[in-house]
């Protein structure tokens, strides 16, 4: 029993994931669609939801509550950590239900990431929405350092220099995610298999990042519901327990270039805390859903979370070891790289599905313990260690 084992996930919901104009829903509408499914999956009604944790910049608890008919919205909170927010919210939601601040906490995330404002539009027109805010505006953008693939690829290059990590090893990550997507009917890249040769032939965007190192822009949403094991018992659904959860930020938190240790992320600090709570080590984990905004960030998080030593990530991802059937299947749904970019909430949904034994063709045999990570802004990190009932 981990220290956080007194909270669990009882409901999951997802929309279809698409890359074509117009889901027909607003950013709120598409998230509500996922939220309703998660609430139904839990055996609850909207009225019973009394805690809501929206994604930063993508919604207000009040508007969710008003639509869902919540009778008593007792708890709301936003964790301002970009893509690390959903997993970090699991931790806060777990603490909230344990403390009695709420009985059922809804965590939604989603957007029209394809048909709405896309990355190139955002960087040009909405500078204030960028991670780092004024620092990015005053010290990065004037030099053309303006977007996530560029910010993160400098870490990848430095890692290549220090440890001999090779482009083909980043390719192994992209290929594994794409392979997993072929087993997932809801993956945007289902039906579009990719080889290492295809990867190496894809155009450079921000060297060393090629097109296929980058995640998808997608319309879609996902959501989960968190409660206590006592309440879960009355819902008749097998809960998935949160054994450990932590979030962290590197030093400095708001800037990449002046970290003494440029490979440090929030996860470097959060992972030992979460594994300590859970009372297990990375070797006990059956699968990992790793926030894959870009390929190298998967390798980096595998190292920083302790699945291998720093510098050994390149070898760790080779030879099918992170593929289904390998030692540590990573992103069994295809991840942000090949399923959809739903801000990492789809990683949590997939972990729950695996631990319920509901992952169909891509089920990891006898999966008992899984890890989910989040990565946001300039290096915010979060991690949750989940186990089946």
């Amino acid at each position: 029993m981990g220290a956080m084992d007194e909270a669990c996930i009882v409901g999951i919901g997802e929309t279809a994931y698409v890359r074509k104009p117009g889901s027909g829903l607003s950013a709120l509408g598409i998230q509500l669609q996922a939220a309703v499914r998660a609430i139904e999956d839990a055996g609850l009604t909207g009225r019973q939801i009394d805690g809501i944790m929206p994604f930063p910049n993508l919604g207000h608890a009040e508007s969710f509550a008003a639509n869902l008919g919540c009778e008593n919205l007792r708890f709301q909170s936003i964790v301002w950590m970009g893509g690390a927010a959903p997993v970090a919210s699991l931790r806060v939601a777990g603490a909230a239900v344990r403390q009695g601040l709420a009985n059922y906490v809804l965590i939604p995330a989603g957007w029209n990431g394809y048909s709405g404002a896309r990355a190139r539009q955002t960087v040009a027109e909405d500078v204030s929405s960028l991670p780092g805010g004024a620092i990015a505006r005053d010290f990065y953008l004037p030099f053309g350092f303006s977007a996530p693939p560029q910010w993160y690829s400098v870490m990848a290059r430095r890692h290549m220099h220090e440890f001999g990590t090779r482009p083909e090893q980043l390719g192994c990550i992209a290929v594994a995610m794409r392979k997993h997507a072929q087993t997932n009917p809801n993956a945007v890249m289902k039906g579009r298999a990719m080889t290492l040769e295809d990867y190496m032939a894809s155009p450079m965007l921000a060297d060393p990042y090629r097109l296929f190192d980058c995640c998808l822009e997608t319309d879609g949403a996902a959501a989960v519901v968190v409660t206590t094991p006592e309440r879960a018992r009355d819902l008749g659904k097998e809960p998935v327990f949160i054994m450990g959860a932590a979030s962290g930020q590197p030093r400095p938190a708001d800037e990449i270039t002046n970290r003494k240790d440029i490979f440090q992320t929030g996860l470097s600090l959060a992972a030992p805390e979460a594994f300590g709570q859970a009372g297990i080590s990375p070797g006990d984990v059956d699968f990992a859903q790793i926030y894959d905004c870009f390929t190298f960030e998967v390798l980096q998080q595998l190292e920083e979370a302790g699945f291998c030593k720093r510098g050994e990530g390149g070898a760790f991802v080779e030879g099918g070891r992170i593929e289904l059937g390998g030692e540590l299947p990573v992103n069994t749904h295809g991840g942000l790289l090949s399923e959809a970019h739903v801000l990492g909430m789809n990683h949590i949904v997939e972990a729950v599905r695996q631990l319920r034994g509901d992952a169909g063709q891509r089920q990891v045999a006898d999966a008992e313990i899984g890890v989910v990570t989040g990565w946001g802004d300039f290096g915010d990190g979060s991690i949750a260690i989940l186990r089946r009932a």
């Binding site: 190139r120 400098v154 921000a206 990042y209 030093r251 002046n258």
Partner: protein
């Protein structure tokens, strides 16, 4: 790229507060970083207080202007339309002799000539009437 996209102006720093002071020195051809008056540590980007010792006391101290290339990326598809015509270009992290790192560009070599640890020195490039950006060129020292 369409006219509308190439017409997007280059993003420039807001000349307010500490960032304004930093770029004010750049306008005069001086690269200065904050240095803690109590523990002596240099810092960049500008901040209110010393993250090493907690002191509020600091001065703008002149940098040697010399450093080495720490890492970089080569942008071949600009996500910001103002940089469309500049591709390929290479935002680079320079580690200064003082220990701080600064994001900039090395102007006198093509992206494929960059090397980690390559020595560089600061030069100033006018970006507008008010703003000079600190950039770098190869150095022999």
């Amino acid at each position: 790229m369409s006219q509308a996209e190439t017409a997007v102006p280059m993003p420039l720093p807001e000349l307010e507060g500490l960032a304004g002071e930093f770029y004010g020195y750049c306008r005069k051809g001086e690269l200065r970083f904050q240095r803690c008056s109590d523990c002596g540590s240099w810092r960049h980007v500008p901040r209110e207080m010393c993250a090493d010792c907690g002191s509020w006391n600091w001065e703008w101290e002149r940098s040697s202007g010399r450093g080495r290339v720490f890492t970089w990326t080569v942008v071949t598809r600009a996500l910001h339309p103002a940089f469309q015509d500049a591709c390929p270009y290479a935002p680079a992290v320079i580690e200064m002799d003082e220990g701080v790192r600064i994001l900039s560009q090395v102007t006198d070599c093509s992206p494929d000539q960059l090397q980690i640890d390559m020595p560089v020195e600061v030069v100033f490039e006018d970006a507008s009437e008010e703003v000079a950006l600190p950039k770098f060129r190869r150095s022999t020292s």
